[in-house]
Amino acid sequence: MHELSIIQSILESTLAVVQDRSETCTVDSIDLQVGALAGVELSTLEFLWPAAVGDTPLADTKLQIEQLPGKAVCSDCGKSFNIGFYYDPCPDCGSHFLNITQGEELRIKSITLVSAPSPPPQGGGLPPNLNFDWNEGKPPLPGGRGGGLTAPQRLKNQMVKN
């Protein structure tokens, strides 16, 4: 279930961008690029997304994922070909010495922000809470680490000095 860690990283990066903006804005969509060899199960990612962002400012944010096929160049014969798995051999010479040129990507390509209508209505409520703290989320996420990113805090110093 490392997909939950990945979602946490996406949230942190996105919220950092939002907080750096001078104007109040919400996040309309996040565009990811995920390679076929990146080791991420997209269906798990999409399944977890609504639950993971439910109590965050990204609850209504759309997650758009572009899948990138794996590509490799054979180090022995120079053949370029598409690769689905790390154990795929070169189709020409059968070599496993490959230079992976695409497919290991796991990145946030872009995010689309929507600036809130201005001027803000008089007394029209508070702006969305963008100072959201993931660690405040109680109870912990389903299937995630207990209490979010608190593992270092739970790190037990069982140090035994000689």
């Binding site: 990283s9 051999p89 496993h96 010495f97 207990g146 593992a151």
Partner: protein, 271 residues
């Protein structure tokens, strides 16, 4: 330039989509119905303009940022620390029960007085592994990941701040027993070692290719059990090299000590 289609001409003919009205005399052509003139009424302008808020503005922010960027940066900090102190940091990964802790126990016992060891133990729960290591006399930190399935670089960072490993020492990071998730998370280690026992299937490398693809060494443990099993060592290596042609292999038994000299020789790698 024409604003309609971008051509260089200036007299672009717009096609009208309205029906062409015929003169009344045209109706004599065996048509019973009269064509009613089409009247297009301009909508009445409201007397008072309602002030609508400006539409929300969408802004695309190009990030092009690795999702695991934060972990990778922390891992590089760890790596820099290890390199500066000439510390050999080894990330031990495997499925649960392959014998990572037994391998460490044996190593600590056999190499006592020859190498200085520090151990970071990662488990979901309990301090049992740390207690086993501590019994061998090495400084150890136990990280409990709770429901987490892998160690991340920030956890290791905290642990090495606590351990304060000496120059020229060896730091073993025993990851959570899991052949999937730990492969994605760089901890800043100098070498990654995947441990597999002969009681597992020889097709593990192609079933869990990510882990074997990222490892430097594959330690095949429990070889003392080979006489009792149908395990094809060469097939395991073949599968391993399909996923990672640079993967090295060592055959050991942490219980009997067979093959451990090769492991100790490997441990002297240059940072």
């Amino acid at each position: 330039m024409c604003a309609t289609c971008g051509c260089s001409g200036n007299g672009h003919q717009l096609k009208t989509l309205l029906p062409v009205l015929k003169p009344a005399s045209f109706a004599g052509l065996a048509m019973d119905t009269q064509v009613e003139p089409l009247v297009v009424e301009a909508p009445e302008k409201p007397a008072v303009r309602v002030q609508t808020p400006p539409p929300p503005v969408k802004t695309l922010v190009d990030l092009e940022r690795d999702i695991l960027d934060k972990n990778k940066r922390m891992a590089e900090r760890n790596r820099g620390f290890f390199e500066a102190r000439n510390i050999r940091a080894i990330n031990l990964v495997s499925s649960p029960g392959s014998g990572k802790t037994a391998l460490l126990e044996r190593t600590l016992a056999d190499r006592a007085g020859k190498d200085r060891f520090y151990v970071i133990e990662g488990d979901q729960q309990t301090d049992r592994d740390a207690e086993r290591i501590a019994a061998g006399g090495a400084p150890v930190v136990q990280i409990n990941t709770g429901k987490g399935c892998h160690l991340e670089a920030d956890m290791v960072h905290q642990a090495i701040r606590s351990l304060q490993p000496e120059t020229d020492s060896i730091v073993f990071i025993e990851n959570v027993g899991n052949l999937v998730c730990p492969s994605m998370f760089d901890l800043g280690e100098g070498r990654r070692v995947v441990v597999i026992s002969v009681t597992e299937g020889e097709d593990k490398p192609i079933k869990y290719p990510d882990m074997f693809h990222t490892a430097d060494l594959c330690v095949i443990n429990k070889i003392d059990l080979l006489p009792y099993l149908q395990f094809d060592l060469e097939q395991l290596k073949k599968y391993g090299r399909q996923v990672n042609p640079n993967l090295e292999f060592l055959e050991v038994s942490a219980t009997t000590g067979a093959g451990m000299e090769g492991w100790y020789a490997w441990l002297s790698f240059t940072v």
